[in-house]
Amino acid sequence: MDLRLDVSQRGEWSIVEVGGEIDVATAPRLREQLIALVSEGHHRIVVSLEAVDFIDSTGLGVLISGLKRVRTHDGAFAVVCSEPRILKVFEITGLDTVFNVAPTLDDALASEG
């Protein structure tokens, strides 16, 4: 229910700022947003989780699908996350080694993705 999505453009990066809880009920909206961006030709995507209070395996799955999609276009994908509770979910699943997880938006934008 409680998911906020805010999309903006900075240079060649599309920034998706997510707020609230990413779970089985809300993850489909994030998935559709990522699909829409890629199909519109945006292949460099940053997903900011700074305003996210909760993410579950469904949310992680949507991020994996986003990463896959931009890779097929030689794009870039980065995740912004500094909140320990959320970082922990990436760490214990090992996905912190799969994603480029940056502590700030600027770090993410400066990266290769």
Binding site: D23, G61, I64, R71, K88, V98
Partner: protein
């Protein structure tokens, strides 16, 4: 709801709809927050593990409802939370036909590029990592996921 009387048991019956998983998190979050032995980080573990178990139960129930020729019966998902001495037990029960967790094929290592082929399959591994003990028990018509949580780290007195 003919709950076995026990002064420390909270039970929640939810319709099999994705939107209500957040209600299960709220309830288990409130219960763990009122237990001074569990700090915020461990509380977050509980919320996530219980959420994963409820999500699986609801998805299995929705799939089972779709398989039945008759209109879906909409059997509820049950969550039962017991605050014990030094631990919290949560049982999530569904009537979705059951499954055999030992047949689940482990995914490739996260470092393997083939790992990206799998968007799902993270729920049960997370359950195993976040609980101190987890058991998947087949019931007559579904599954009972029994989870035990102990406090980790330094307890915060609340």
């Amino acid at each position: 709801m003919h709950a076995a009387p026990d002064p420390e048991v909270v039970e929640l019956a939810l319709p099999a709809r994705p939107e209500v998983v957040s209600v299960a998190r709220l309830v288990v979050g409130a219960i763990v927050a009122s237990d001074p032995l569990f700090d915020d980080e461990r509380g977050a573990d509980l919320r996530l593990a219980v959420s994963e178990a409820c999500t699986n139960a609801i998805q299995a129930q929705l799939a089972a409802d779709e398989r039945t020729a008759v209109p879906p019966v909409g059997l509820p998902i049950l969550m039962r939370c017991t605050v014990g001495v030094g631990c919290i037990d949560v049982v999530v029960t569904d009537h979705a036909g059951g499954f055999d967790p030992s047949t689940l094929v482990p995914h490739p290592e996260v470092t393997d590029p083939a790992r990206l082929e799998y968007e799902g399959g993270l729920g049960i591994p997370l359950l195993r990592m976040l609980t101190d003990h987890v058991e998947f028990r087949p019931t007559g018509d579904g599954t009972e996921v029994r989870m035990r949580f102990e406090p980790h780290g330094d307890p915060v007195r609340g």
